[in-house]
Symmetry: C2
Subunit: 132 residues, 2 copies
DNA sequence: CTTATTAATGTTATATTATTACACAATGTT
DNA sequence: AACATTGTGTAATAATATAACATTAATAAG
């Protein structure tokens, strides 16, 4: 039985906006853009973001302090995320590669510890930027 | 020819402290602890941190906004980092696993893009915390 | 060795990101 | 209805990080 079918008002407003922009966006930028919808304070945004991250609807790009809509239906369960980030134009894409995620999900460290979650961020130059 | 054999005064002070504590530590905590050495302002710490990250002497744990000394001599070249993070006690260890790093260094996304850098953070419970 | 260039420092102020604390309202359960 | 859980609203503040500017130290080039 999957939980949390319905989002609250603020969660839905924030998610709608993040899905609309379709690229990583920062919390205070979200705030500015949803003020017309009645959200007034940072905390209202951060609370919505926390919940949306928790249920896998969005991800946080940790190295950029930015949030992006999830493109990968399986994230809601696995919390296993991978991104490519262009260091020139800051374009970010979510990587969904079965082989990679399989490999990382089953990874054990030298003490045999397994992990229930990971976040991987790759850095380089995207196609456009590498020909400039 | 390897560059940057010698660190500047502030860089050395900050690195010494980070190596001494031997666990992830935050910028303002570093600041408090090196004030007796004459470092007075956040920017002095951040500038040293930037340089130390750049030359691979320390790494930033992005999900925690914290910095830790590098345990892995090859990082200075590769900028390829992996950590395990205990979500209970916040213990962080740098993973050095040849197979993993080889796999990730050669990883290409679906467009064939290769990456010169990555950061991977695994989350779970460490040995101590998992038996509690 | 002196001039040019680059890297580092010192300092103040400020920007950006995120949380605490508290009162209250809506929703779901028993 | 009573209770627990989750979400909201608001103000204040904490924590993290950078901009701008003046100066000094280190390096390298002539």
């Amino acid at each position: 039985m999957l939980k949390q079918e319905t989002l609250s008002k603020n969660q839905q407003i924030v998610l709608d906006y993040i899905e609309k922009v379709n690229e990583p966006i920062k919390a205070y930028s979200i705030l500015h853009n949803v003020q017309k919808k009645g959200i007034k304070a940072p905390l209202q945004v951060y609370r919505a973001l926390d919940k949306l991250v928790e249920i896998g609807k969005i991800h946080k790009i940790e190295s950029r302090n930015a949030f992006v809509a999830c493109k990968n239906s399986s994230c809601q369960l696995s919390k296993a995320t991978a991104f490519s980030i262009c260091e020139s134009c800051e374009e970010v894409s979510e990587i969904s590669d079965n082989k990679l995620s399989k490999y990382l999900k089953s990874f054990q460290d030298k003490a045999g510890m397994k992990f229930k979650k990971y976040n991987l961020e790759f850095f380089g130059l995207c196609k456009k930027c590498s020909i400039k």
